[in-house]
Amino acid sequence: MTTPRQTTLHDTHVAAGARMVDFAGWSMPIHYGSQLEEHHAVRRDAGMFDVSHMTVVDVAGPGARAYLRRLLANDVDKLRDPGRALYSCMLNADGGILDDLIVYRRGDGYRVVVNAATRDKDLAWMQEVAAAQPDHEAVSVAEREDLDMIAVQGPEARQRLLPLLPEALRGPAAELTPFHAVESGDWFVACTGYTGEDGFEVILPAGDTRAFWSALTGAGVRPVGLGARDTLRLEAGMNLYGTDMDETTTPLESGLGWTVALEPADRDFIGRAALERQKAEGVTRRLAGLVLEGRGVLRGHMKVLAGEAGEGETTSGSFSPTLGASIALARLPAGAGDRVQVEIRGKTVPARVVRPPFARNGQPVVDIPA
């Protein structure tokens, strides 16, 4: 087994008392003492995540647009202006999800941020698809290992963060609305995130990372580990790649039909034919949210009994600190009603089927069991 890679902030995390774990080949903080308190800090105040393990890829050249319209299930032509962002899946020819990502349009090309766990596979695939383009010499796909990434999230994130940005970015960043970004030099500030709160993801030169993190700490932004990152994204109803979806599931089976742009009909993206076929034949399973009504805690891979509709399975589950109840994402058979039973250690416990998200902007958005 190889030694896990360390981010620029590794020693800072250790000094702050973080419990470090191996995540996707990286040594990352799981928490800094209390996962629950970190979770609440993001819902109620402001927290920050070192997400420098994520992979930043710049796509440029005159052929970049056509290439991304082939590569991605969502359509980068929706990005009418530089500084706009789009969530998309990258599919194989069978419609299976290779990864989910955010693509930003820039003045002279695009920036794509993909998951750390799928880095090698993604980069190889992106190069392979680029090489198969008729104008492959007009497309460049380049990983930016010189850049780090810090997410600052929570209702107070904006006001704490803005004064700490390079001066040229403060004004423009203050105006950012969701799925927009601004950049200056190698600093890139996007109003995106993985928590369901207001906030930013900041991509910055590795040489500036320690000072920026330290300034955020000084401004009262709390470091948050991967543990709370997972409960926050689950409450926000956001899928985790490799857990809620993978190459054996399509976006239509993963609650992501809205990210597949079938119009215009002449855009031939990879996986299109498979998705059209699946749509025509009928989607037999879907991803839904569950709120546990009985006692216990939902986890991934629990069997879900949906009556005559058949059986499903939870894909991720946890105690939800914001709801004070247990929640899960589950892949259910088509036709499942709004009540199901979940098998927890040999007992069946009732759960209600809901449409995610479970929480947004600090508040529950589903009914909480009494």
């Binding site: 799981i30 928490h31 209390s34 996962q35 629950l36 308190e37 979770h39 543990g227 997972d230 409960t231 006692r295 216990g296 805690v297 986890r299 946890s318 105690f319 600190p321 247990s326 250690r345």
Partner: protein, 130 residues
Amino acid sequence: MSNVPSDLKYAKSHEWVRQESDGSLTVGISEHAQELLGDLVFVETPEAGATLEAGSACAVVESVKAASDVYAPVSGEVTAVNEQLGDSPELVNSDPYGEGWLFRVKPADSGELSGLMDAEAYKAHLEAEG
């Protein structure tokens, strides 16, 4: 090193046992165990009257991140459970040797208690586990 009270006995799987004056045994999990688990959000205790067999899974403590079994350190009948944990599982974090106790047993064989570790042996066990 976390707190290991000298008046308790310990199992390798990180449960503690206290002998009460009426001969019953109170069972909980050690400070080290709750630290490893992190913030507890759910505790499932055995039911009063249940018969436990030493070494078998008899309770579950769940933190935000994972579920973990608690093993019966001794055989016997459950005489009481900590009802407070239903609403306040975090007591196991804040006071693992006090208000965070899990259940009480009437031991089937008082000899089993001597098979558990004393505080010194448990400390050595923690160090060996790293």
